[in-house]
Amino acid sequence: MLRAGLIFKLFRRGAQIQRKRMAMTVAAIAWGTLSIVLLLSFGEGMKRSFSKGSKGLGEGIVVVWANATSKAFEGFPQGRNLRFHPDDVALVRATIPEIVSASGEMRRWGNNLSHGRKSLTKPVIGAEPEYGELRNMIPVEGGRFLNVRDETEKRRVAFVGDELAEELFGEKDPVGETLLINQVPFTVVGVLKKKIQMGMYGGPDSNVAVIPLSTFRSLFGRVYLSDMVVKAADPAENETIKKRLFEVLGAKYRFDPTDERALQMWDTHESQQVTINISLGIQIFLGVIGGLTLLIGGVGVANIMYAVVKHRTKEIGVQMALGARRSYVLGPLVLESLALTAFGGAIGVGVGYGLVRLLGFLQTKANSEALEFMGAPTFSPAIAATTVLLLGTIGFLAGYFPSRRAVAIQPAEALRYE
């Protein structure tokens, strides 16, 4: 305790020389810190935007398509086309307990959608009520997604994508309005809340109309599903689910459960992990660039500390002659280096934080899709911790090595130095 106090006292007495050079060094550290804060904040923003975007399709869902067999099985030849029946959804739900939610899906392209004088050609999806939650189709306030009664009563109701709604209805609130699908009137019950969707199959959700699966079947006379969407309580169980789907559907449709070509699956949890890894990679890359910039500042600090040590060689010799132990010489110098880095770092973090806030604000005003996709720069506690850790390490090393040189020489030699 006494020693720490003494080191601090000596530091306070020593750290008053070479102010101009120190100001420059502080500026260099501030600049380096600013770079790393900005780059990491952009990385964080991008990561969050990616993560949000990858969830646009649905979190941890598995989309399953029936394909064709590639292995002969129980007397059936290979190359047999498979198709799902709507009942298969109930079958997999009943036999695979890991599945907590599932929906069949039918898709049809090139439908005529019209309202008033406006007419468009768009895809229509037939799906069950679970589909909304599975695919993150959240309705704008005042509307809803399809419900069980819509499905059981084969209601002619539609949930429409936000861009489609804007094109057809303009400024008007579409909920409650009539939408003609291939001249059949439907009531709009909800509009998709705008979302960033990075992954898609058959076009973005902002551009489709979703109607109950039962209505879809009677309207278009479809028998088979385009695909199924299933979800586990925990995405970690997706592997089990996938394996069990091969077994359950293989048993029903008589294909080899090891025939990987029979079913095609898209595990969004898996692709989310890839996205997370990519954005993490980008973040590390940005962090390294920022870190290198900060390192240049650190070299500046080390440089000035070498100069300080050289400048004070005789003083250090005097202190040693008076009985200063090595730590009494080392401590204040390291503290001085840490103080320089801390001061520069504080300026850098402060300015960086301000800029991140400002850029984030400007971005929301800019209304650019590219900027939106890149995400608003975000300052997080992790960034603060990384910066502080880097600054601390740099400050310590930049002070330690020069001062170690100072205490390595005999006091007699230090005293001779002019």
């Binding site: 020593g14 005789k314 040693m320 009985g323 200063a324 006091p411």
Partner: protein
């Protein structure tokens, strides 16, 4: 009283030797050549002695001063300072010995320029680990003794050469050292200030301090009680002066 050395000093083997050097050698190895600065020094300085070490430049007296003050270590031989063997001590142990046992007075004062005279004198007490109150009392007394009570809070640049050397002497005495080591203490002073400082040393010697003065000024050396002459790294003369009587 504070100008007197600590009472009841340790016996140090009974003979009261503050400096006890036996066959001391110092070789500077510059890689290409080896320079033997001290070639077997035997020297004993007893408590309360006032000794001057004289010799031309290059004779080895600075090297001897460095080793006596534990600022450097000998290559060979033994050196007991106030009864403690110095050879084999690490840098921190040497620092502690300098702090407790040696007070330095340099030709160029060597006060730290960016702190006040008070803080300069306080520094060895800080290294010693003295408490705040002890430090304050000790420093204030020392300033009174060297006659600079009103100059305590000035920085070295605001003091004259003589005043700076007085501050340096106060600093050297701060931890009540066994040995006061002065290297050409009047070398940078005008005649009057030089006389002043010398008077101060004589006063200290009178009060029982052990003083070793390194100089090339024979007139100054004659004012001490014993002269040790060194040449080419060897002691060539060791005699009492007229002051010894």
């Amino acid at each position: 009283m504070l100008f007197s050395p600590k009472n009841g000093k340790k016996s140090n083997g009974g003979n009261g030797e503050i400096i006890a050097m036996r066959a001391l050698r110092k070789v500077y190895d510059t890689g290409a050549i080896q320079v033997e600065a001290l070639r077997g020094i035997d020297l004993a300085v007893h408590r309360n002695e006032f000794v001057s070490i004289v010799g031309p430049s290059g004779s080895g007296k600075s090297t001897l001063l460095n080793i006596v003050g534990c600022l450097d270590v000998a290559t060979e031989g033994s050196y007991l300072l106030d009864g403690e063997e110095v050879a084999g001590l690490d840098l921190d142990q040497l620092a502690d010995i300098r702090n407790r046992k040696v007070g330095f007075v340099f030709q160029s004062f060597n006060l730290l320029p960016h702190i006040t005279a008070y803080e300069n004198v306080e520094m060895p007490l800080l290294f010693k680990g003295a408490g705040a109150r002890e430090r304050r009392e000790r420093v204030e007394t020392l300033f009174e003794q060297v006659g600079l009570g009103d100059r305590m809070h000035h920085r070295p640049v605001e003091l004259s050469g003589g005043q700076m050397q007085r501050v340096a002497i106060a600093r050297a005495l701060a931890c009540e050292p066994a040995l006061l080591l002065a290297d050409e203490p009047t070398g940078n002073l005008d005649t009057t200030s030089g006389k002043d400082i010398l008077g101060l040393f004589e006063d200290l010697a009178e009060r029982g301090h052990t003083l070793v003065l390194i100089t090339h000024d024979m007139a100054l050396a004659e004012r001490t009680k014993r002269i040790v002459r060194i040449q080419d790294g060897r002691i060539v003369e060791d005699r009492p002066t007229s002051q010894a009587a």
